[in-house]
Assembly symmetry: C2
Homo-oligomer: 107 residues x 2
Amino acid sequence: MEIPQIEELELLHANICQALGDPKRIQILYALHGEPRYVSALADDLGMPQPTVSRHLQVLRQRSLVLTERDGQTVVYSLADPRIIEVLSVMRQIMRDALDRQTNVLA
Amino acid sequence: MEIPQIEELELLHANICQALGDPKRIQILYALHGEPRYVSALADDLGMPQPTVSRHLQVLRQRSLVLTERDGQTVVYSLADPRIIEVLSVMRQIMRDALDRQTNVLA
DNA sequence: CCAATGTATTCGGATAGGCGAATAGATGCA
DNA sequence: TGCATCTATTCGCCTATCCGAATACATTGG
């Protein structure tokens, strides 16, 4: 019986999760929900420096979580897959339920 | 108009995602799917040293992703919420679709 | 109490990831 | 071309995380 190795799928999987593991990137993804935005618009909306937003967008792009399209001087970013927001929402619900359980235990 | 700050929810959210952002922890979560296990059983199954498994389990526990129950000498870990696996599966599907898109573009 | 078994933690070193600041690159237009 | 605007990258520093190895802690049974 072989020892199970860490498969490529697990690595990719972890890679995606890791990309979601930063508060600013989560904000960015939610901000892209519904309407594509360009970089400085995101920066203004979220109150982050433009280079910061750009760096985070690169991370998301490398993981295929966002898509880009150049439009003249600006680069428009959009969610690559609406299910990303679904996943985040479910996680948020899981989180909330876990917090509720803890609160109930303490009460 | 105030600049939107990073809310507590986003921090928690990122925290959860970050916990999922490690291949070994993903393996552990899948291994806990269906049946609770105790630490050394997991270590044997996954071919990881026991302290490694234990450390990762602590990370998952802090985020309320797994639950523990002591049973004599052993400590039994279980998934705190089956939706965690659902979320991981959806992410896996999102990932696969993204890979397919890339392949199609290249072809 | 002591030994055996199972689990958790600590330590040190290596690696990765975040940020601000500065700068480089790309595009459009006069 | 030259300038303004928008985006991406680099640099240095700091912090967080991971790992193996060793060790501490907890529980059971003799």
